[in-house]
Amino acid sequence: MIISVASGKGGTGKTTIATNLALSLDDAQFIDCDVEEPNANIFLKAKIDKSEDVTVSYPKIDKTKCDYCGKCSEFCAYNAIAVVPSNILVFPELCHSCGGCELVCPKKAVDWNERSIGKVEHGKRDGIDFCHGLLNVGEMQAVPVIKALKKNIDKSRNLIIDAPPGTSCPVIESINISDYCILVTEPTPFGLHDLKLAAEVVKHLKIPFGVIINRDGIGDNNVEFYCKNENIPILMKIPQSDLIASLYSKGIPYVEESIDFQKKFIELFEKINGLVNK
């Protein structure tokens, strides 16, 4: 079963839920898809033993063949090629590697170079097989790194995916293969507003989902009303607690400190298992 943890709003507790859930299971695979700001391994502390580059291709123009006709530049939807009367410029960080320039070039002047935009790292901790991605600083495109991460999925095992915040392309690429999505929110107007947006995304992708309310008690009851009105299951409520906040700040997963919490996360998993296999 593939369970993804997403949120819309950042900082609601995605990584906390995802890591504590994975640590409560015996034998899970864990993929941190927040390649812009990956934090799961601060809590899981897997020993990284393998790293691979994520590369994307971009056009290499053979200037002995190019006659500066401009067809490639005209075709490129991403403005990654500019042609002036006697020169041609390629902007690799804008290129989406669609291959269109090569197709339209009448002189067969387009070949391909590879460049690194990030990396995927693998590691192990107890029973957990861990991997995360790191987008290089200054790079725009998180999606190719997430796609590279997803190649490591072993479908025979339970998989926990820690998704990035937001509702656009990197989130969709992270959660689109899930059997179930946990949306983590906090009981505040910002939390509710972004929960509604995230719920639209998972509904659009036709993924069954439920909500975890984190820091319960800090705001109002509107998240709960919303979930009840929309028939969205509230899977768990985690109260606002100085102890939990303090453990989080130090990078300590709270299931390591409390058997009770571990039990709650095992129950959470069983509940989701029941919902998925209904």
């Binding site: 819309g8 934090n39 939807a77 291959g99 197709l103 656009s168 107007p189 507003h193």
Partner: protein
């Protein structure tokens, strides 16, 4: 005219609450909400929308099944796996490159505009606000950020405003880069957790990469004093000015529930800290 963007790397550190509080202090300013994925600033600003602009991101392929001869060339050549074997487009995967339309021998594929969302120009009790909403499961949020910033700049120039305050998105990728390029200062809001420190370092590298001066605010500094000291050391080593150290205070959440910013909600010590921080930011911006 100056521009400042509030960013954080890690989400949920307090970007929007701080932007909203500055709104009560900044004079002759235009505001822009560039977290177009999950925009929240309007919940406090309660804007009156004056102008709505349709936003078309990248184009999208549509197939005329009556013309299609099932040659599968489009399926073979699509680098985004956006065309199924039965020649159906997967909308969320299409990046609008146009390769399929180009290779189709019977011209069964058209590249059409995608309704990706809306940009808005609004009036608020703090001044003009440029904001946007990206439609569900749409791409090109970087492009929409650029549109929001262009709109803010136009309003600022027309009305001779001195400053644009931009509420930025989390992360370090495309929407963040679009939110910070060309601004005069970034305010990085962090908190004393190992996760936030890790993210501060990465987002600081992005600011460096684009040669933008950063200043830092440590929010909830008292939830872990050891980690706050680590942030202060990091800032000292990297010559970053710390403009504010804000304590954990639940009145920030209470103000939010009340649809107010903290300055409007309370004149307590937290609000005074925000005022001090704003003075330091102004000094740095030279306004």
């Amino acid at each position: 005219m100056k521009q400042i963007t509030i960013i954080s790397g890690k989400g949920g550190t307090g970007k929007t609450s701080i932007t909203a509080a500055f709104a009560s202090l900044a004079e002759n300013t235009v505001f822009a909400d560039c977290d177009v994925d999950a925009a929240d600033l309007h919940l406090i600003f309660k804007p009156e929308i004056k102008k709505t602009i349709h936003f078309h991101g990248l184009k999208i392929a549509t197939i005329d099944k009556d013309k299609c001869i099932d040659c599968k060339k489009c399926n073979e050549l699509c680098k985004f796996d956006a065309i199924r074997e039965n020649i159906e487009i997967i909308n969320e995967s299409c990046e609008g490159c146009g390769v399929c339309a180009y290779v189709c021998p019977v011209k069964a594929i058209d590249m059409v505009d995608r309704d990706s969302g809306f940009a808005y120009i609004s009036e608020t009790r703090f001044g003009p606000l440029s904001h946007a909403a990206l439609k569900t499961a749409e791409e090109a949020s970087g492009k929409l950020v650029t549109l929001v910033r262009d709109n803010a700049k136009d309003i600022a120039e027309e009305n001779e405003k001195d400053l644009i305050i931009i509420d930025g998105p989390p992360g370090i990728g495309c929407p963040v880069i679009a939110s910070i390029t060309g601004v005069d200062l970034v305010l990085i809001v962090t908190e004393p957790t190992i996760s936030a420190i890790h993210d501060l370092e990465r987002v600081h590298s992005v600011a460096n990469h684009f040669k933008i001066t950063p200043v830092v605010c440590i929010n909830k500094y008292d939830i872990n004093l050891d980690n706050s000291e680590k942030i202060e050391n990091y800032c000292r080593e990297n010559n970053i000015l710390i403009v504010g150290k804000l304590p954990y205070d639940n009145s920030v959440t209470k103000a939010m529930v009340d649809e107010k910013n903290i300055i409007e909600y309370s004149n307590g010590s937290f609000s005074k800290e925000i005022v001090n921080m704003w003075e330091k930011v102004k000094e740095r911006l030279i306004i």
